[in-house]
Symmetry: C2
Subunit: 446 residues, 2 copies
């Protein structure tokens, strides 16, 4: 598919709803703008993305540990981090004619209003803090104001010393966290691309205080390659990722270097994830005394930090776009086995032959003890293939008369395995199916 296809987004949103990946949030009550629920297949895809990330960046690495900090932290965290000031605020303008609001940095203020077309109608930009407020305590009038976290990263910074104490890792080492964050975005939209409630996968990778530029530039480049390599591994090919090296003067003041990794969404080339060298800005915000002591020299200092930050929702959207393909009228998702909701589907060739169904059930029951596997006995085989293609199931396993020993005797206890991407069919012994699926999951995990 050409990502520039204007209909592509509609097709993906429609498939996502029709097949249970993503439902509009609160739909039966007229919806809640830009809120989305992940349906039976969406939650599996999302969980698979998160599990792939956690396995790759936490379990397989000796220099990384995980964290799951609270969504609601002390308001002092956000004061110290600068989020309650203008640092986490969007500059906003309003069209005096139609009263539509826009982010001042995202439209051409000398041009006509994109909504009503009138010219020279914008107010001066004003800052709006995008942290979402809530109140703790049960008694009205005595409630304490607090914020929902605007990013997972701050939880890592404030727990840094506790983590150092328990994990006893030498620098460099990283802390990884997956969790919800909330922002009162001015311009949410584009399906699950920008929402007020979203999920992040963030790493803060701590390094010693750089003496020379290469002391931070080398780990920065390492993480730059790691991000692209991980995305490629789950199915967002490296050729589809465009790096935007943010020039001096356009980066946040604490960042010495930032790369936005962009992807060609159907609505344009937009940020998929980011990498920033944040210096010692964050740890200095939170720790008056140096929080790290060199185990050899006992010298205390504030480590510097490199931050690879991904959004779960926009990674999933990029994956849907990257894997979407059409064959004539019908749509398919060429998802890699490790992220596909179902690893395989099992069918009896005919659903009205009890002994075929029984044998197919036994294959299905054995496989689903280890893997998420679909069962389908509706309609004909061709329709079942297409239904599975549409949700990205990599393999369709059919139990036929040969399986039962009623055809070619050599094929007894074998099944056909049809590959989604090339539609080829091969026969495999039933007893090899589990390891066949296992091997497909391990592909590209190196």
């Amino acid at each position: 598919m050409n990502p520039g296809d204007g209909n592509l987004m509609d097709k993906i949103v429609s498939l996502a709803k029709r097949r249970g990946f993503v439902f509009p949030g609160s739909e039966i009550y007229g919806g809640l703008a830009n809120s989305w629920d992940y349906g039976p297949l969406g939650v599996e895809l999302k969980n698979n993305i998160k599990a792939a990330w956690w396995s790759h960046f936490v379990h397989r690495r000796e220099d990384m540990v995980g964290l799951d900090s609270a969504v609601i932290m002390s308001p002092k965290v956000w004061q110290a981090s600068g989020h309650t000031g203008t640092g986490f605020a969007d500059p906003l303008v309003e069209c005096k004619n139609c009263h539509e609001r826009f982010r001042a940095d995202q439209i051409d203020l000398s041009a006509p209003c994109p909504n009503c077309g009138m010219s020279h109608t914008f107010t001066e930009p004003r800052s709006f803090n995008i942290l979402m407020k809530t109140f703790l305590g049960a008694v009205e009038g005595e409630k304490a104001e607090a914020y929902l976290r605007g990013e997972t990263a701050q939880g890592i910074f404030i727990d840094f010393k506790s983590i150092v104490d328990v994990a006893r890792k030498p620098l460099p080492f990283g802390v990884a966290q997956i969790g919800k964050a909330f922002r009162n975005e001015i311009t949410p939209g584009n399906f699950i691309f920008r929402t007020r409630e979203f999920e992040q996968m963030e790493i803060e990778y701590f390094i010693p205080v750089p003496v020379r530029d290469e002391d931070w530039a080398e780990p920065f480049d390492y993480w730059r390659r790691e991000i692209v390599s991980w995305l490629d591994g789950i199915g967002i090919a490296r050729e589809k990722i465009h790096e935007d090296d943010i020039p001096d003067g356009e980066r946040a003041h604490y960042s010495k270097r930032t790369i936005d990794f962009e992807f060609d969404y159907p609505f344009g080339r937009k940020e998929l994830c980011g990498l920033a060298y944040r210096t010692d800005f964050d740890l200095k915000n939170h720790f008056k005394d140096a929080p790290y002591k060199d185990p050899q020299t006992a010298e205390a200092f504030w480590p510097h930090v490199i931050e690879p930050s991904l959004g779960v929702d926009r990674t999933m959207l990029a994956l849907l776009v990257a894997s979407y393909a059409e064959d004539g009228d019908r749509a398919m998702l060429k998802l890699k086995p490790r992220v596909a909701p179902f690893k395989a589907a099992v069918f009896p060739l005919l659903s009205n032959k009890p002994h075929l169904v029984e044998k197919a059930r036994s294959v299905y029951d054995a496989l689903r003890r280890r893997h998420m596997v679909a069962w389908d006995d509706r309609g004909n085989i061709g329709k079942r293939y297409y239904a599975q293609d549409e949700i990205g199931t990599p393999f369709c396993i059919t139990v036929d008369f040969d399986t039962l020993g009623e055809g070619d005797a050599a094929n007894k206890d074998t099944v056909t395995v049809r590959d989604r991407d090339n539609a080829t069919q091969t026969r495999l012994p039933i007893k090899e199916l589990a390891s066949f699926i296992e091997r497909s999951l391990e592909a590209d995990t190196e």
Copy 2:
């Protein structure tokens, strides 16, 4: 350990902090009352609990699908569900002397104040809604009030029709969801037992409209057994779970039967999870028109629902309590392999022998490609065993001179595997370690 041991809770909280299971939330800013962060080992234990639940109740079952709905839904959801009324409100009294507040249903109002000891000082009970508010939209004064969900269940109910459309499951079938919920609890406390921010694992299991009592009583009893069986399987032995069948008049008005499953926490016998037959109350709240059509008869109706509901945090706490043991001065967590943060630890017998270290590293590197495995080469073997016992690592693998072929030749390429629970050591070939660990994970998953 005797759960009545008054020090047990202190010991567990201390171990949890010292070893990186649970840190006090926002601690460097003086803390945020009753908020907790899950550290490097806590996040693994919690993830293992959630993965065990999801695998057991979603992946292995044909009659269940998953969902991940938004934390922030339309306020209309909470109006329809009754949560904005008094149904989700706690009755609260205040001591007129010391001004401490208590839940009216949790203290004896004719007794002296538990805080200051004065008698006859309580105000009349007043209702306080415990939903947490927030505001959507970026412009002050035009923000829309919304709530953080007080339970994950309502997301399942409002998406019921969408799920039926995509999942095409015949009744009975269930929808499972794991996610954060938020409540302005009046009496949070007891470590991670009751917090304002917590994580739920909820199932709504939909059944046809019961004609006879056994039509709901049988699936209810089935789920009653399932809950206990699952808890037993992760390591909260069935003998430790006490069922409290809530009598008529004490249940929520929509519930025809409720069982609280209680556990002996160090602070007393308290609810661990619950099971409720909620009739068609919820679907009737949300759907004016019957949301389910029988595929055979085309008759439309509102299915009834049975709800097994668990808290992730209090399941983890129960697991810590149930697995805590002492041997003389030292503490250990007898966690089952499937929930233990590390599945094994690998050591070189001596850390100052490079060839031992090198061989041990190769064993470690091979295992951690598949499993979360620890490395330790500090201190002596005995200290390493104890350090791993304390965090619940089931197996310690030591590479010694025999492994290298420098001792008993028959032991070349074998290692000692020391079992945490009985301290026995057996020798295993290195090439069998991965499947040994694999088998230990599969125990009790039936």
